[in-house]
């Protein structure tokens, strides 16, 4: 029986059954084009550094969030070292963040921010929790009674910083960022 006759006649069947060869071609051709193993590495690239960090407002606010995120992770590591019981949910989220990053960048060799959207959301969840933890530490250290006032200041800080980021940044879409 002619192969294409079979496909046309029995169009009810999924293509994977009626025309498996075309599906295979489609997948291998497009995948090989999409997941490109390029020569540049994350450690040698300067595109992202120039795009992000040349913008002074992104530098001051985004970097602030990143520093808080790293600070919180260091706190978790310290807690593990001192065998203090920690919030396991946050730990799993942090492990997910790093393992997914390793999976996309080192295993799939995909150097685009687009593929990191799931962990960028997780990054913001952890950042929010870490801002809260640091605000609490500040409250305890200074024996502040009115906690809510500090939290309101934190909210104001988040809104103003994010607003300024939108105002001064020229980045329109995550896809328009250069590959790292």
């Amino acid at each position: 029986m002619d192969y294409y006759f079979f496909r046309d006649k029995y169009y009810f069947f999924p293509t994977i059954i009626s025309d498996p060869r075309s599906v295979l071609t489609l997948i291998t051709r497009e995948s090989s084009q999409r997941i490109i193993i390029e020569n540049h590495s994350i450690f040698f690239s300067s595109n992202v550094v120039f795009t992000y960090l040349s913008d002074s407002f992104i530098l001051s606010f985004n970097l602030f969030i990143i520093i808080i995120f790293i600070g919180y992770l260091l706190l978790i590591i310290k807690k593990i070292g001192n065998r203090i019981n920690i919030n396991r949910e946050t730990l799993v989220l942090a492990i997910y963040f790093f393992s997914f990053f390793a999976f996309v960048v080192f295993f799939s060799k995909t150097y685009s921010f687009r593929y990191l959207v799931p962990i960028l959301i997780v990054f913001q969840i952890i950042s929010g929790i870490s801002i809260y933890e640091f605000a609490n530490m500040f409250i305890k250290k200074n024996n502040i009674v009115n906690k809510k006032l500090i939290y309101c200041w934190v909210i104001a800080f988040i809104l103003i910083s994010q607003g300024l980021l939108i105002y001064y940044s020229e980045i329109k879409r995550i896809e328009s960022l250069p590959k790292f």
Partner: protein, 304 residues
């Protein structure tokens, strides 16, 4: 008291959504952007094509790309079917771009007239996607609260998410959806594993994980990660206090188990500890349920 707490959560959510709308509008005005670009229109065209073929039982025409995006088509397709929009001009325009080797995202620079036309319909066409984003914000708040994070911590996280325009608003529909579904899947799994929710959260996690995977293949990472997360909670190996002591205790127990020198009641207790360490039964039971639901949902929704 319970009602009061719920009312508080409701107003907080309302405020978060309101802040998100303000920031989104500000970003749009600042960059003179529509919700839509040509790549999104292409996905809407594919969704229409997808629904047409489903409704006419012509399943053989459903494979269009190795980039699945199936949940985008399920979410957007019915709405496109109702709108009954003529996509011919878009298809022709994309063909001309392809032949001249120009990318899809430069519609603003190439054809101002076409851009102005689609500016009018951009919000209407994005209603299904905005609905998914709306439910994502509600579910995210609910799951984070369910995980017993402090309300203020949740508010800070939510504010960071809704005020960043790049991840869930202005990116391609597949990237939006894979981010949304995989984050919700992971959080639902954590709710179940931390015993703050029943088995339905495990099933939700598998369903959302499969939706993420049939949207974009990178979400397949959830399959091994889910096993790790279940083992992380069920085996008790990773609980931090007395970590070193637990490891040494388990080595002793393992040694006794393999040398078969246990006879006393205490040694039998060690063997039960081994069962606890490996926890094959518990881990396998949960993971099997997760993976079966994951595969079942993937097959049902992908139809291919």
């Amino acid at each position: 008291m319970y009602v009061k707490e719920n009312t508080k959560d409701f107003f907080i959510l309302l405020a978060i959504i309101f802040v998100g709308i303000i920031f989104l509008s500000y970003f749009k005005i600042k960059h003179q952007m529509t919700f839509i670009n040509l790549d999104e229109l292409l996905w809407m065209y594919r969704s229409r094509f997808f629904m047409d073929n489903i409704l006419s039982s012509n399943f053989s025409n459903l494979v269009q790309s190795s980039h699945p995006g199936i949940m985008v088509m399920w979410a957007v397709g019915p709405f496109m079917e109702i709108l009954n929009y003529d996509f011919n001009s878009i298809v022709k325009f994309i063909e001309s771009l392809n032949s001249s080797g120009v990318g899809y995202n430069v519609i603003n620079d190439i054809d101002q007239e076409l851009f102005n036309d689609y500016r009018e319909i951009s919000f209407l066409f994005n209603i299904p996607i905005l609905t998914v984003i709306f439910f994502f914000i509600l579910s995210l708040y609910y799951l984070l609260r369910k995980l017993a994070f402090n309300r203020w911590a949740v508010v800070f996280s939510m504010l960071l998410i809704v005020t960043t325009p790049y991840y869930i608003y202005f990116t391609t529909p597949t990237d939006k959806f894979v981010g949304i579904f995989s984050v919700l899947s992971l959080l639902s799994l954590l709710v179940f594993l931390s015993k703050k929710g029943n088995k339905k959260f495990l099933i939700f996690s598998a369903i959302l994980g499969s939706w993420a995977a049939i949207t974009k293949m990178s979400a397949l990472f959830l399959i091994p990660f889910c096993l790790f997360a279940i083992a992380f909670y069920r085996s008790n190996l990773f609980i931090v206090p007395n970590f070193r002591q637990k490891i040494s205790l388990r080595f002793i127990a393992l040694k006794k188990f393999f040398s078969r020198c246990y006879s006393t009641q205490n040694d039998k207790k060690y063997c039960s500890i081994i069962n606890n360490i490996l926890c094959f039964k518990n881990i396998a039971k949960d993971y099997l349920l997760w993976i079966i639901t994951f595969l079942g949902t993937s097959i049902i929704f992908s139809l291919l």
